[in-house]
């Protein structure tokens, strides 16, 4: 029984240790701003197409599916409200994070994993550079900065997608009413959780990607394994965290 628990507990302990080192590293020198900017470009600009498409179509689908349900109650004028609330609270943050997990947590795990198996991380330490500061910190900072921004973009494009379906395609409600109900529906609470979520997801996504990369053993096969584990673990944590944060905010 204890042997079964040993491995996950050990993994969790190592992950927490790396997280503490990385978060402390944020306040330590050297800053490696150049690396952070490169990572922001890779994660932020690189994810723009996929995040835009996901945001747009999730809003459109939301409007499409809700149209019938709302018609039953004769409440088609409320479609903007539903799209706005679901996009800002859940769909925007979660879908963006899942996309970035698939693109970047995997990328971090495979990049750092390759460096690990070719002894580049050992070489880095031997040559006097702390790999946590040089490799993990820029990725953590970059993700924490760009993921909330990507989420805002996805939220907005989701609303545009919803508007196109509801007002142009199905003509359920006039455009002005759509935007008015959407605007009125969003409260500060929604915006707060809609921005705190991606920030927390970003920390988890980047640290999980880096952790599995740094733990890689066993050559190219090991790199593949780490990459898969990173995506799976990061995605599952996104879904768990969104529930926990959502629960905290519904009590506020």
């Amino acid at each position: 029984m204890l042997d079964i628990l040993k491995r996950p507990v050990y993994t969790f302990q190592e992950f927490i240790l790396l997280s503490i080192a990385a978060i402390r590293g944020v306040f330590r020198k050297p800053a490696y701003w150049g690396d952070t900017v490169i990572q922001m470009d890779l994660i932020g600009v690189g994810s723009l197409p996929v995040v835009s498409l996901t945001g747009f179509f999730s809003g459109a689908v939301m409007a499409l599916q809700m149209a019938r349900a709302l018609q039953t109650y004769g409440a088609t004028s409320q479609v903007g409200k539903i799209v706005a609330i679901t996009m800002v609270r859940e769909m925007g943050p979660v879908l963006t994070a899942l996309m970035v997990a698939g693109r970047n947590s995997s990328g971090m795990a495979s990049e750092l994993g390759s460096m690990k198996v070719t002894e580049q991380i050992d070489a880095m330490r031997a040559l006097g550079t702390d790999p946590v500061l040089k490799l993990v910190k820029p990725r953590l900072l970059a993700t924490a900065i760009v993921l909330p921004l990507l989420t805002i973009l996805a939220d907005f494009l989701g609303l545009v997608g919803g508007w196109l379906v509801a007002c142009v395609l199905l003509q359920l409600t006039p455009g002005a009413q759509y935007w008015d109900t959407a605007w009125r529906a969003i409260e500060y609470n929604d915006i707060a959780q809609g921005l705190i979520k991606p920030f927390c997801f970003a920390i988890v996504l980047s640290l999980v990607g880096c952790y599995y990369g740094m733990q890689t053993t066993g050559g190219t096969q090991g790199v593949g394994r780490s990459t898969t584990q990173a995506v799976v673990v990061a995605s599952v944590w996104v879904v768990i965290l969104t529930f926990i944060i959502g629960r905290i905010f519904t009590r506020l």
């Binding site: 460096m115 070719t118 002894e119 580049q120 050992d122 070489a123 880095m124 330490r125 031997a126 040559l127 006097g128 550079t129 702390d130």
Partner: protein
């Protein structure tokens, strides 16, 4: 703790290393003095690379004492180790070159990132060139490691190890790729610690003539 002789550069005293209860290295004891060359031979997976990593503080021994440059480094933290590492040159088994950096940036890395007096740009370039010329790769400055052959990468690794003119040079299987003749499979010469006084590397025989 008795202080070791001042000219001892690297010493292991009853060093044991185990992973999850399994003993990998058992009571390793040796010492290397300034000017000595020590070659460690052993079958594959007998722990030669681990000895090298222990000597660099990349892993910690389970028991025993490691002394580098007369300092007991067994319990040193990573930041304390960095002062020691700045005086050691190392060639890893896989070369350990950073594949996102050019050959020139790779060789300049220890000069720019280790704790030492800052060097001028020209001085860095001169030493990188000198070090690469020594391994006869002075013309590959702008290439990426992926554009080089295995043997050339190994030689760039050697150039990076010697560019700081370290007091202690650790080579992990330096001849594995660089040599033309295949090593005997069971007891390949794997972990060489070569210890030289600082300026001597410029007078060493060229890499070509190595076994």
């Amino acid at each position: 703790m008795g202080s070791p002789a001042s000219d001892t550069v690297l010493a292991f005293e009853d060093v044991c290393l185990s992973f999850g209860g399994e003993c990998v290295l058992n009571e390793i004891t040796f010492s290397v003095r300034r000017g000595d060359t020590l070659v460690i031979q052993g079958a594959a997976a007998s722990g030669k690379t681990l000895i090298l990593k222990l000597s660099l503080g990349l892993i910690r021994p389970t028991r025993g004492r490691i002394v580098v440059f007369g300092e007991d480094v067994t319990a040193y933290s990573d930041s304390q180790w960095n002062d020691i590492r700045a005086r050691i040159g190392v060639l890893f088994q896989e070369g350990g070159l950073f594949d996102s950096l050019t050959v020139e940036e790779n060789v300049a890395y220890p000069l720019l990132n280790q704790k030492r007096e800052p060097l001028s740009e020209e001085e860095v370039r001169r030493r990188v060139q000198e070090s690469l010329d020594f391994v006869e790769l002075g013309h590959t400055l702008d290439k990426l490691p992926s554009e080089l052959s295995g043997g050339m990468r190994r030689r760039v690794g050697i150039a990076r190890a010697i560019v700081t003119q370290p007091e202690l040079l650790l080579y992990d299987s330096p001849c594995a790729v660089a040599s033309a003749s295949p090593a005997p499979s069971s007891r390949s010469p794997s972990c060489c610690c070569t210890i030289r006084p600082p300026p001597a590397w410029t007078r060493s025989p060229p890499i070509r003539s190595w076994p």
